[in-house]
């Protein structure tokens, strides 16, 4: 510490850096495609060039001499028409450009032989080769499957990539947080914090208008049966007690409250020794730490038939009636949880309960990395996978997906080496849902440790993050366990969320780029780009709505306002 003070106060100690002043700055012409794209956007953006700032056409005409106008009707008539047509064209062009900018752009242009290389790639073709996605943006971090990680959303609606997506901006500059939301019918439901106050919103997708707003906070993912929204209600404390609730979709009022459950480990810190420190546990200062965001653990709610299931921070599962919230059964596993909750000394991911369910099965992942099958009617334990089988002591279950009678499980190995680099691997195991017998385990996806997963009836698509922060998509055949060639490879530059519907796999990046891939051919079908402007944070989606348009939910970043007078002073 004293050395720092001495050094940074010694002027001679920075002289070698003075030579850098302005030395790297050279005018560099960007790609012509990029320049042209930007020029077009400016034409539609400049406040002084939009029609509303221009004098009305009739005013221009009125400035002509009435005598002249009367004396030469033909000329006046022609002149009026030309001006009118010009103004109309200008107005139409401006509106088209505005729409182009306000909505997600189908940014593109003709592909050329050098498409994807060098400047201008963002402006180039929608239908560019798959590998064009490889230089999307720069390295920023690793997605460990947290809030912006696994979405595992898979819908049945066919998406139409040719239709412009809806750019639904939920938050503004006062919005500090936006939770994962849910699209139901014509609306988005979700929680935000606006200017320090909780707000649970229903926002009409078509109009962007807030239908209703309530002052409470939910946690984690939401569920719905089409009539109600189900969620964990929490307060704003550090270790909030989650309470299952049903929310009226019409008014936002709480329809019923379930029993209070165990708090979640909202944050987990992992050291490079493979030791994890959950809430309340503080790593020794000498250990380099890594933060893991697990706020999107899949604790439910899961709606299946007339029951909604929730599991909590100690893998206690409750089954509640969707109409009245009455507790039908409870499976309490809290005694199985490590006695010292704040310290888990294993190179595995400590997990609170994760649940998947349908009307025939309920599966909960337990803290010891086993999976228990519960009777949907009674909660009785039917089967349990044993640890050391497909999940040995070096692996951990990261995600589950239930497809009919098969349970698809994503497991990973330890995730960082002592120097902080990415190691480990991922594998998909397919289990018989009735017996929990392992039907097939895929080859290892080497070098990957940050994952997203979308599961269809025949395949699982993984988003893997390997060394050098390269992300790629891999399809795993659920029958044979074989892996496809990687596709959609790119540098990880931001958080990426994976979702899918129909035959379309969707990768949405927090920078605003949304890529659509064919699940069948792995071809890049389309590429849209949100005109970010001041919107920077992807907070949900994209998910398709009824007419096939995908939706992404965004909020304005905290640093969005452009300073009018940037502060600066010369070097003394």
């Amino acid at each position: 510490m004293s050395r720092i003070s001495r050094n940074h106060r010694d002027p001679a100690y920075e002289r070698d850096f003075r030579q850098l002043a302005g030395a790297l700055d050279r005018p560099i012409a960007p790609a012509p495609e990029f320049a042209e794209s930007l020029r077009r956007q400016i034409a539609g953006s400049e406040p002084t060039s939009t029609p509303k700032h221009r004098p009305a056409t009739t005013m221009v005409i009125a400035r002509e001499s009435p005598v002249l106008m009367l004396a030469d009707r033909r000329r006046r008539h022609i002149g009026f028409s030309i001006l009118e047509i010009a103004a109309a064209l200008l107005l139409i062009s401006a509106l088209a450009l505005s729409a182009y900018i306000i909505n997600i752009n189908a940014v593109g242009g003709p592909t050329g032989p050098d498409a994807g290389n060098g400047p201008g790639q963002l402006s180039r073709a929608i239908a560019s080769p798959v590998r064009d996605a490889s230089t999307e943006r720069m390295t920023a971090g690793i997605n460990w499957g947290g809030d912006k990680g696994r979405s595992q959303y898979y819908g049945s609606d066919a998406i139409d990539p040719s239709k412009p997506p809806v750019d639904l901006q939920i938050g503004d500059e006062r919005t500090t947080t936006v939770g994962p939301g849910l699209f139901v019918g014509d609306s988005w439901y979700g929680w935000t914090v606006r200017a320090g106050a909780d707000a649970f919103l229903r926002v009409n997708v078509a109009t962007g208008e807030t239908v209703w707003e309530q002052e409470y906070r939910t946690w984690g993912t939401l569920g719905s049966n089409g009539q109600r929204i189900f969620a964990f209600l929490i307060d704003a404390s550090d270790t909030p007690t989650p309470v299952p609730v049903a929310i009226s979709m019409t008014t936002g009022e709480i329809a019923w409250r379930g029993p209070a459950l165990h708090p979640f480990a909202i944050s987990i810190t992992a050291s490079n020794e493979g030791t994890f420190y959950l809430d309340g546990g503080t790593p020794p200062p000498a250990i380099e730490t890594y933060a893991i965001d697990l706020t999107r653990e899949e604790h439910g709610p899961v709606v299946a038939g007339e029951t909604v299931y929730f599991t909590d921070g100690k893998a206690t599962t409750v089954a509640l009636g969707i109409d009245d919230g009455a507790e039908r059964w409870r499976d309490d596993r809290s005694d199985d949880f490590p006695a010292d909750f704040g310290y888990v000394d294993e190179i595995t991911f400590p997990r609170t309960g994760t649940i998947v369910a349908n009307e025939r099965y309920v599966f909960v992942r337990l803290p010891d990395n086993s999976i228990v099958s519960l009777d949907p009617a009674t909660g009785r334990e039917i089967a349990r996978s044993f640890r050391g089988g497909f999940v040995d002591s070096t692996r951990s279950i990261l995600g589950m997906s239930l497809r009919g009678d098969r349970l698809v499980v994503l497991t990973i190995s330890s995730f960082v080496s002592s120097d902080g680099s990415t190691v480990g691997n991922a594998a998909i195991s397919v289990l018989d849902a009735g017996s929990l017998e392992v039907l097939v385990t895929s080859d290892f996806v080497e070098g990957g440790a940050g994952f997203d997963m979308v599961v269809t009836d025949s395949s699982a698509f993984l988003l893997t993050i390997g060394e050098q922060d390269v992300w790629e998509l891999i399809e795993v055949d659920l029958t044979t366990g074989s892996l496809s060639e990687p596709f959609g490879t790119g540098l990880l530059v931001e958080s990426i969320r994976l979702s899918g519907t129909g035959d379309t796999l969707i990768a949405a990046m927090s920078s605003g780029t949304v890529l659509y891939f064919s699940m069948e051919t792995h071809e890049l079908l389309d590429r849209h780009r949100v005109q970010r402007g001041q919107t920077i944070a992807l907070v949900g989606g994209p998910m398709p709505i009824e007419d096939g348009r995908p939706i992404a939910v965004w909020k304005v970043g905290p640093n969005a306002p452009v300073p009018e007078t940037p502060p600066a002073t010369p070097i003394p």
Partner: protein, 196 residues
């Protein structure tokens, strides 16, 4: 006039009258000149990554166009754009830093022992290799250290201004700069080997 000087002199050149004055000329008048300069400003500061530089260039120019505020003098347009660009760049670094913290990258140590590190040699920054090495070295630094060095040395801000840009105290900025310089020197030597 170098970019650094232009940015550093921004306040003196533009003053407060810039905020509500109409542009002396329209966007077309400055776009062609500004685009390569803004793009050239970003490219070395983001590790030479074209896509990132394009994104930031686009954000900067669109923000300028949409703001509706222009300097009253045409000579002040470019410094004004550089001012916006620098804020965009700092936002980018902040985002990068957040991503590192949130998604598994090691947190920057709060304090490190700054061991003796030989100063940088005199660099011929007109030579491509030297420029590339500096850019690559910058790219290796943690985002906070990189943002401090960029603001202080590449953009020519004084320490209080650098501190304001980073949202830290002057003392914290000095400490951060000290760590950043040491880190830069070490990375530079590691990249350049004995040649340094």
């Amino acid at each position: 006039m170098s970019t650094a000087t232009q940015i550093a002199n921004l306040d003196m050149e533009t003053g407060t009258e810039q905020t509500h004055a109409r542009a002396p000329t329209d966007v077309a008048a400055w776009f062609d000149e500004a685009l390569p300069r803004i793009y050239g400003y970003f490219l070395p500061r983001v590790g030479g990554r074209v896509a990132v530089a394009e994104d930031l260039t686009q954000e900067t120019i669109l923000a300028a166009v949409r703001s509706g505020h222009r300097p009253s003098r045409s000579s002040a347009v470019i410094p004004w754009l550089f001012g916006i660009a620098r804020h965009k760049l700092m936002d980018h670094y902040r985002t990068e830093d957040r991503e590192r913290h949130h998604f598994g990258r090691p947190a920057d140590p709060d304090e490190i022992e700054c061991g003796p590190a030989p100063p940088l040699p005199a660099l011929d920054l007109d030579a491509l290799h030297a420029r590339d090495t500096v850019i690559a070295t910058l790219d290796r630094l943690p985002p906070r250290q990189r943002s401090a060095l960029v603001a202080r040395y590449l953009d020519g801000c004084d320490v209080p201004t650098t501190a304001a840009l980073l949202g830290v105290s002057v003392h914290a900025a000095e400490s951060l700069l000290a760590r950043a310089r040491t880190s830069f020197r070490q990375h530079y030597r590691s990249l350049n080997g004995d040649a340094s």
